[in-house]
């Protein structure tokens, strides 16, 4: 079974980085959002430095949302989702593997790109390190929560906007603790470790709830 799941992981990864897969778009979108920020608020370097962590987190959240509607929909359109549902593997595990592949293809590049974006926003070294670390710990939660929305809207045409409406309220805690940890690392009195650990916990909880809810939604959508 683990070989089948590994094969699924490889397949999803390969599909999403190929042309039309949409994974490279995420990083590009991330870059565009970060670039637009100084245009909208002015090239005030101290201000950019202060709001930099928040800008990076928001941009990462939006970039994560961007590719979510393809997570199950592409498989649904060509019929391979039916095969995955009926293949006999626990659907929860299949959803988890698909989610992890999606995270590796779309969110991991964001984490890698984050330090360079931090330089554009005039952030200090410790802030850049903290943002990269929190994004690494927090983006799995965003992907796994978003997976629920993707599974709920899989059979709908034009489900993309609906995913954003359904998922964004649920991703508020991740955003709060992610930015909170970075601010804790930069401004001295607040701690870094406790919000960071909450962030890790959110990702772990999302790793349990996300696959279960997504599998239930996929089964509900089949019938």
């Amino acid at each position: 079974m683990s070989r089948a799941l590994l094969a699924l992981f490889r397949r999803d990864l390969r599909l999403s980085v190929k042309v039309g897969g949409g994974a490279p778009m995420g990083v590009l979108f991330f870059l565009v959002v970060v670039t637009l920020m100084p245009f909208s608020i002015g090239p005030d370097l101290p201000l950019l430095q202060r709001i930099g962590p928040a800008v990076l987190w928001i941009a990462a959240l939006l970039a994560t949302l961007l590719g979510l509607d393809r997570l199950f929909q592409a498989d649904q359109e060509d019929g391979s989702l039916d095969l995955l549902v009926t293949a006999g593997h626990p659907l929860e595990l299949v959803a988890l593997v698909k989610g992890l592949a999606h995270w590796t293809a779309t969110s991991l590049p964001l984490v890698v790109a984050a330090p360079f974006m931090g330089l554009l926003l005039n952030m200090q070294a410790d802030a850049i390190a903290a943002v990269t670390l929190t994004l690494l710990a927090g983006t799995p939660a965003l992907t796994l929560i978003g997976m629920i929305g993707a599974a709920l809207t899989v059979s709908l045409r034009r489900g993309g906007v609906l995913i954003a409406i359904l998922v964004l309220p649920l991703s508020v805690p991740t955003l709060v603790f992610g930015v909170g940890a970075v601010l804790g690392a930069v401004t001295d009195p607040a701690p870094f470790l406790s919000p960071f650990l909450v962030l890790c916990a959110l990702s772990l909880v999302a790793g349990v709830i996300g696959p279960i809810a997504a599998a239930a939604a996929l089964r509900a959508g089949e019938g």
Partner: protein, 256 residues
């Protein structure tokens, strides 16, 4: 629904028959409506004419008698929806879908009332229409979740499938409810901490507590009336849908 006429059935199962449910609701509704009017009249009279003005906030404190019950009800309706969602996913109870769907707009409206009255109260007290403190923000998130659920129901045409899909999202979103309830205790912000439902008893004076609880009961009963009426509408809407689908099907058969 094949065994609804079996002699040994629980009340919950007998309610699965929509016709029986509608006739029960019809019998209950006048009493509930009368109860709502009585409680509302008593609560409003005590709140607006008998209860003293606050020594700090003056007369503006009276908005509390609408604001606080609306907040309770806004969260309570979500809990009702969550139990209905459990009912529709675990026991496939036919009325659970209807309950959740009928409750969502009611909950959204009361959450909005809570936000608007809070904003009107906040302006003279805090000097701002809106502050981004933990409770206000989590209440706004609750409103967004209600609106997202309503949007989901509107997008999926088949009511049975829409009900199952929405039930999953309701259960995932229920995590937010304790966050709202305890937000004032976890984060010490502008909004005042809990003063009625506390482990060491209410800290609010009895002259304000009685009208507040009366208004809470009145809002609960009002919500029950609204949800029951909305459930009746939903049942009729589904019946019309079934009839029109059958009519279309019969018409096609005749032409063929």
């Amino acid at each position: 629904m094949a065994n609804v006429s079996a002699p040994s059935q629980s009340t919950l199962q007998s309610l699965a028959n929509p016709t029986r449910f509608v006739s029960l609701a019809d019998r209950l509704l006048p009493w509930l409506a009368a109860l709502t009017v009585a409680l509302m009249a008593a609560g409003l009279y005590l709140g607006f004419f008998v209860a003293p003005a606050d020594y700090q906030q003056g007369e503006t404190v009276r908005i509390m008698f609408v604001h606080v019950p609306a907040a309770w009800v806004g969260m309570f309706v979500y809990v009702v929806m969550a139990s209905a969602a459990l009912g529709s996913l675990v026991w496939k109870h036919p009325l659970a879908d209807v309950t959740a769907r009928a409750a969502a707009p009611v909950g959204a409206v009361f959450t909005l009332i809570c936000l608007v009255t809070g904003s009107l109260w906040g302006r003279p007290m805090w000097g701002a229409w809106w502050v981004w403190d933990a409770r206000l923000t989590s209440m706004l998130v609750l409103l967004l979740m209600y609106l997202g659920l309503i949007a989901l129901w509107h997008t999926i045409e088949d009511p049975i499938r829409a009900g199952r899909v929405a039930a999953i999202l309701i259960l995932v979103g229920v995590i937010n409810i304790p966050i709202i309830k305890f937000s004032v205790d976890w984060w010490y912000t502008l909004h005042q901490p809990a003063s009625v439902f506390r482990f060491d008893g209410p800290t609010i004076h009895i002259s304000m507590l009685i009208p507040l609880l009366l208004m809470g009961a009145a809002f609960m009963s009002l919500v029950a009336v609204m949800i029951l009426m909305s459930m009746k509408n939903e049942i009729l809407r589904r019946r019309i849908r079934a009839i029109s689908i059958r009519a279309a099907y019969e018409g096609r058969k005749e032409r063929a």
